[in-house]
């Protein structure tokens, strides 16, 4: 279960220093920052910009372009439900509505108790076993039905 570090400019600089020598370092740096802090905090943008000798605007533009990068940490667990065509064909829309109802949030929101963030994802590459879901970083689920989804929601809320 992900636990994130509190924001620290010093820690951010250490993370950035570990990657800044790489070609096209911005994405690896942003991923590493998000891994540590659960998001790419606004305070990180000038530090990244300076390390890469780019403008703040350029880094801000990059961060905001990509769906993955957050500006605040998610809930304790992140549940991504696939909403793409293959999962739509296999009943994914109804499951997404069920998840929203059971958690009491809309797609993209976090439950009031900060336990679960529910997000749409456009394809997990598990289309042979649609509908599919991803819990946190790497736990994959396929062939979802109501019972399996309910068990997954229960686990995420625990």
């Amino acid at each position: 279960m992900p636990r994130y570090e509190p924001w620290s400019a010093k820690r951010a600089s250490t993370i950035i220093a570990a990657h800044k020598h790489r070609e096209g370092a911005a994405l690896p740096i942003l991923h590493a920052l998000q891994h540590a802090f659960g998001c790419v905090p606004e305070g990180a943008i000038p530090i990244v910009a300076e390390a890469l000798n780019l403008s703040r605007a350029e880094i801000y533009g990059t961060v905001t372009f990509y769906h993955d990068f957050r500006n605040e940490p998610p809930g304790r667990r992140v549940l991504k439900l696939c909403r793409a065509e293959s999962c739509q064909a296999a009943g994914g829309d109804a499951l997404a509505a069920r998840a929203e109802e059971k958690l009491g949030v809309k797609m993209g929101e976090t439950t009031a108790d900060a336990r679960v963030t529910l997000e749409p994802v456009y394809c997990l590459g598990l289309c042979h076993s649609s509908p599919a879901a991803l819990l946190d970083h790497d736990r994959v689920f396929g062939m979802l039905d109501e019972a399996k989804l309910d068990a997954l929601l229960k686990e995420a809320q625990a």
Partner: protein, 519 residues
Amino acid sequence: MTARVFISRDSGALCVGADEVAPALSKAADKRGLDVTIVRTGSRGMYWLEPTIEVERPEGRIGYGPVKSADIDSLLDADMLEGGKHPFSLGLIEDIPFFKRQTRLTFARCGIIDPRSLEDYKAHGGYKGLEKALAVGPEAIVEEVMNSGLRGRGGAGFPTGIKWRTVAQTPPQQKYIVCNADEGDSGTFADRMIMEGDPLVLIEGMTIAGIAVGATYGYVYTRSEYPHAVEAMEIAIRRAREGGMLGSKVAGSKYAFDMEVRVGAGAYVCGEETSLLESLEGKRGEVRAKPPLPAHVGLFGKPTVINNVLSLASVPIIMSDGATYYCDFGMGRSRGTMPIQLAGNIKHGGLFETAFGMSLGELVDDIGGGTRTGRQVRAVQVGGPLGAYFPRALFDTPFDYEAFTARDGLIGHGGIVVFDDTVNMARQARFAMEFCAIESCGKCTPCRIGSARGVELVDKIMADEDRAANITVLEDLCNTMKFGSLCALGGFTPYPVMSALTHFPEDFGASPKRLQAAE
């Protein structure tokens, strides 16, 4: 005697519980004093049978599936390790019709070997292509790839050999091999399967490409949604490096080549090659205007070969077995094999590699077994979110680049998503526009604004607001997007929209009231 069993560690097996089955088997075997070695492989691509346990026997691998951890005891009671009969028996895995009917060239090792073992890879014919490549040299490699007729498997179908020749002809300097593993199309998973099940074949293909064009470094750009593929690739790269197959002297030769994996950040448009290059450079994934071509001005402004996973993974067999061998499969200008991915509401979801030319109907009804819900197949979307919807009436279309183009469709990356008769095609058209609006990089107006207007138009049509007039506007908008967009995202979004409208007009707000009024 040690029994050897194989359980897939492919995401498609993990998502239905393979990681519970493997330890349960090992625990149960220990308890019974049975000596079992479990090898974690990639996937055979028969996902409806996962988790599958394959037991090595003198006559071949005997399969059992789909297995849950609770079934282990009954399987062991039935002497599974000696190939005993059980309700889950699948017989010889390679005799299952879905598998037997395939021509596995690119996926020859997938599901068979341990993807984390260089020795296993070499023992199954791995690195034979590189050996040949080193023996014949750069010019002959390019020639061989040209002669094979290999076309980009990412979607556009551009001849791979021509890309390679263009880069090879640029003056010596830093050049790059970039593998486009940003497989974002719904209904596709072939790239993921290769990366998880036979990553070394991709590494070998990229190494050969590097030698052919004079590039010394490669990047695999894949998706954050593919955590297991990222891990598998990184482990395989490490193994190749340790085994001397990557580095300053590839396989002891005078050529240097090394590579790494880069992970995207959830932007679909980064599957477009120039947008991918921007992203690799650390920028917003905005599409570049072409020309200049990436072959001349690519990654960091250097000459770059950018190919899809499947194109690069097909190179080793082309080199080892020859262009003619590969070229003999297929039809017309579509040569070799295509891994076709059956997805959506389908009974036999999975990957079916076959020579080009099989009909769409045979693939969906016969190989795929129709829908999982048992209802009538109403529509299939071929080629991802930017591919056309085909009705049953077009099921005689052969799977071939040109045949699909002739019917206003595309095969794209080879995914087929099946829908039953409960689908509302106007909603699917709306989704195509909505998806384009969400994923547009924003650089060109037809895509950025057109997709948002497209959603509104379909909404109006579905709500029966000025239906006839709005359909005309929608058609006009599609035309603008098709010819005015910078890349395939805006340019191809009209395919699903127009095909839905053309083949399923009854779904576009033709309420009974409306029908009467029209008469």
